[in-house]
């Protein structure tokens, strides 16, 4: 390292060890990580959940979350060792010289105060600016981040502003004291792809403009490729490798990194509709609303054929999940009908026969909350088997074993366990087994992989694919992740604002010409190419990036 480079080092972490308290003992979370960050450099930290990315991000601020402690190593920020600095000294750095942007802006803004009042808190407290100057500066930052109505938006409460706007407002807040370093902790993970672009572009511009150094934490490789100069890959609290972004994308050295890169390669062959067959499920001209409110679905129609996978895609709020609620009878439609094998289903699930109910099952996004933590696995899977098929005693146990085998979990090992003892992927498998227990012909999968890490999600997709081939199941796959659609869909239904804007076989959908909205969705999916964002912004023209100024 040259001397010039040495001087430019802003943050230097050496042999960092962090431990977490389990209630009985301290276990290592971070096992000796080194990190060097120069002024103005953006470092991407990637890895699966549990890899320790966020823990390192917090440690860079000298902060250990409750139940964790920095057990050894040094964290030197601009000559100050944060592991030995006093509590007051560390506090004086936070917000002023090191700022933080959290994953969920909606949860990280205080619901009781106006956005701009939270923005000016740090600069006023550190006496960097007077309140009125800080406000003026906030409005300028809002404008730079292309927030609509920058003059006015800060005077709203957080719940009055959309998620993507809040995330930009939080980035503005981090900039309030013009810090030397910002920690971005998965800032776009909770956003739709179309919104993600705006936030990514805004973050990148402002980081460039003020030459701020940043640690960008994410599990999304394509996102980090757009943002970072250098990428560090983490696994179970240890560094796997570090290299410049281009080097890392083109020539990953370690097997683990390669496996991360390869995840997106799973793709099943596309199936075509059988000729002149009747659809298994038909949604015909459905309008739906919650209570007396506005229409959430507007004249929605699509068919799902036996043994096929139909992906329903769209941003949050486009009506995907509502369509599922109407199909299962949880929400009776205002207009239109649901047909099963050509037969009209009663609108309410209460009025449907046991056989009609059995045919249609659901798997949920959050396996955590969809499984009762107090009930044994055997009972979670056994209950629908008993309810629909009337199995009892040894035959019931046999059936549960069979189902556990189907989802590739050893029956003897899991039969008597409870959901909290399982990993996220295993819980989702139990959710699948529970749906299968009813022997359905059709399963609605509502964002079943979006809460999972890529490798685990890939396993679930492969399992679902195998089950489809073995059992001839039809799937409706609700998702906002187009990579998932590419991997497993036969047909695609694109929804926007409660309407179906386009539908057809997958290959056609991914080939131009598209409906403009489909085009927007497709082009918004980050690609591994580090120049993707720049190119896209040029194509779209910068002014088109921000949400339309209507609020």
């Amino acid at each position: 390292m040259t001397e010039q480079n040495q001087k430019n080092v802003l943050l230097s972490i050496r042999d960092l060890h962090i431990e977490g308290y389990t209630g009985e003992e301290w276990l290592p979370i971070i096992k000796g990580v080194n990190l060097t960050l120069h002024r103005g450099e953006v470092l991407g930290l990637i890895g699966e959940s549990g890899a320790g990315k966020s823990t390192i991000g917090a440690a860079a601020m000298g902060f250990a979350r409750d139940g964790t402690r920095i057990s050894s190593g040094s964290i030197v920020f601009d000559g100050i060792d944060l592991t030995t600095a006093s509590r007051e000294d560390k506090r004086a750095l936070r917000g002023a010289r090191i700022a933080y942007v959290a994953q969920s802006a909606a949860a990280s803004f205080n619901p009781a105060h106006k956005i701009i009042d939270q923005h000016v808190e740090a600069p006023v407290q550190y006496r960097i600016k007077k309140r009125s100057e800080a406000r003026k500066d906030a409005i300028e930052l809002y404008e730079k981040l292309r927030l609509p109505n920058p003059e006015e938006i800060g005077f709203r409460y957080p719940h009055q502003v959309s998620g993507g706007q809040l995330q930009r407002a939080m980035t503005a807040m981090a900039m309030a004291c013009r810090p030397d370093l910002i920690i971005f902790d998965e800032p776009t993970t909770a956003l739709d792809v179309t919104t993600q672009i705006e936030v990514l572009a805004a973050i990148r511009d402002i980081v460039d403009e003020f030459n701020t150094a940043a640690i960008y934490i994410t599990h999304d490789l394509a996102v980090v490729a757009q943002m970072a100069d250098t990428i560090k890959v983490l696994l179970n609290g240890e560094e796997v490798e570090e290299a410049s972004t281009e080097e890392m994308l083109d020539h990953p050295k370690e097997d683990y990194t390669k496996s991360l890169w390869a995840v997106r390669s799973f793709k099943k062959p596309q199936k075509a509709r059988p000729k002149d067959s009747e659809p298994l499920i038909s949604v015909r001209g459905v309008d739906a609303a919650y209570g007396g409110g506005l229409k959430v679905l507007d004249d929605v129609s699509f068919d799902i054929h036996a043994g096929m996978t139909v992906a329903v895609v769209g941003e949050s709020g486009s009506g995907k999940s509502t369509a599922a609620r109407v199909m299962t009878g949880l929400l009776p439609p205002r207009k239109g009908e649901i047909l099963f094998k050509g037969e009209v289903l009663p609108p309410r699930y209460r009025d449907r026969s046991k056989d009609q109910l059995r045919q249609m099952q659901m798997i949920y996004q959050m396996a955590d909350t969809a499984l009762n933590p107090q009930v044994r696995i055997s009972e979670i899977i056994g209950r629908p088997a008993q309810f629909y098929s009337g199995l009892k005693g040894t035959r019931l146990k046999q059936r549960v074993d069979e189902l556990l085998d189907l989802i590739e979990m050893e029956p003897s090992q899991y039969y008597n366990r409870y959901p909290p003892e399982l990993s996220g992927g295993q819980k989702q498998r139990i959710g699948i087994a529970r749906a299968l227990a009813a022997e359905p012909s059709f399963i609605i999968c509502d964002e079943v992989t979006s809460a999972l890490d890529q490798l685990v999600a890939e396993g679930i997709l492969k399992l679902l694919d195998r089950l489809q081939r073995d059992l001839g199941l039809a799937y409706m796959f609700i998702t906002h992740d187009l990579a998932t659609v590419r991997a497993i869909a036969d047909e695609v239904v694109v929804m926007q604002n409660g309407q179906v804007v386009e539908q057809g076989p997958k290959e056609e959908m991914f080939k131009p010409p598209h409906h403009p909205y489909t085009d927007l969705l497709l082009s918004s999916v980050p690609e591994m190419d580090p120049n993707w964002l720049t190119r896209l912004l040029e194509e779209r023209g910068v002014d088109n990036v921000g949400e339309a100024a209507e609020v």
């Binding site: 917090a58 902060f63 917000g95 700022a99 933080y100 949860a107 803004f109 205080n110 009781a112 719940h159």
Partner: protein
């Protein structure tokens, strides 16, 4: 704002229905008590004829539902009938006593509520320190001691040993406010000791409950000092549970003070109720119970509205 008003109107309607049901319960519960005024007044030597004549004279011989509606009709207009013992109008017998009780309750509340909330904030800030533990032990002790016991302890030290405050809080006409506050200090202090603990512990719990939320962590990572994190960031979001506990304790201050009033010979509504039950003076018993029920319902309503008003999502709709 329209939805908010509708919400309040709905709660108010529900409160009225509850009050109606309670009035039925009160009236018929009193009916179920063995014996009545006629027997009580005439004593054991009375013949059946004299008792019957007495009942007729008092109107007790008519069917209960008719008497209920007559009573309810009167109660709505503030007329609770006449005391069966003294013949005085119930409304005038109660009004002064109720005013006294409200005075004592407000006196205690004005000290206890701010004290409890400030202490709650302080112990939340100093959680798990010696101060927190000591405050917890002391308040737990005061909450678990019966109030008459607390009252006598206070009398023992503050009036008998050191003679700072009078032990007898009976009132006489023409007392000015200073006098009044001085004479009623001990019963008020007793009540403060009883209710502070509950409110303080809820304030502490409501705040600590929020400290794990992302926006508190965000404040921490913005360098906001600890006291400001609690007062400025946590407290505004903790009002709903605190307000509910405060309302519950205010209701207790009005309706649960019988023992304290007896200990300090304070002419409040609780003492009146106890006397009336002993003398089987049903109109007064019923009126007192109805007033207590109305107080409870009103305070809970206020708490509901208060917690709605502290929710920014409802105060500033999209």
């Amino acid at each position: 704002m329209g939805t908010l008003l509708r919400l309040i109107a709905m709660r108010l309607g529900l409160g009225l229905i509850t009050l109606l049901i309670v009035s039925i319960l009160i009236f018929f519960a009193v009916e179920l008590l063995p014996g009545d005024l006629a027997e009580a007044v005439l004593g054991q030597g009375a013949t059946d004829e004299t008792v019957a004549a007495m009942r007729e004279q008092l109107g007790l011989d008519r069917p209960a539902p008719i008497r209920y509606f007559e009573w309810l009709g009167g109660a709505v207009t503030g007329d609770f009938g006449q005391s069966l013992v003294t013949g005085e109008r119930v409304s005038s017998a109660i009004s002064q006593r109720f005013a006294n009780t409200l005075f004592l309750a407000s006196y205690a509340a004005i000290i206890a509520v701010p004290l409890a909330i400030v202490l709650g904030v302080i112990v939340a800030l100093l959680r798990n320190t010696v101060f927190d533990r000591v405050a917890n032990v002391l308040t737990l002790t005061s909450i678990s001691s019966p109030e008459f016991f607390l009252g006598y302890i206070l009398i023992l030290f503050l009036s008998v040993r050191w003679q700072v405050f009078p032990s007898n809080a009976s009132l006489s006409g023409g007392m000015n406010l200073d006098d009044l506050l001085y004479r009623t200090f001990l019963p008020a202090l007793t009540l403060v000791l009883v209710v502070t603990a509950h409110m303080m512990r809820m304030t502490r719990a409501a705040i600590i409950n929020l400290l794990a939320s992302p926006y508190i962590e965000m404040a921490r990572l913005k360098g906001v000092p600890p006291w400001k994190r609690i007062v400025h960031h946590a407290l505004p979001n903790a009002w709903a549970p605190i307000i509910n506990v405060v309302a519950l304790n205010l209701a207790y201050l009005v309706t649960g003070v019988v023992l304290v009033e007896v200990v300090f010979v304070y002419p409040g509504i609780g003492q009146l109720l106890v006397d009336a039950v002993a003398k089987r003076d049903f109109p007064i018993v019923q009126a007192c119970c109805l007033i207590f029920a109305a107080t409870f319902i009103l305070l809970n309503l206020a708490a509901d509205v208060g917690s709605i008003l502290t929710n920014p999502r409802l105060r500033h709709p999209k």
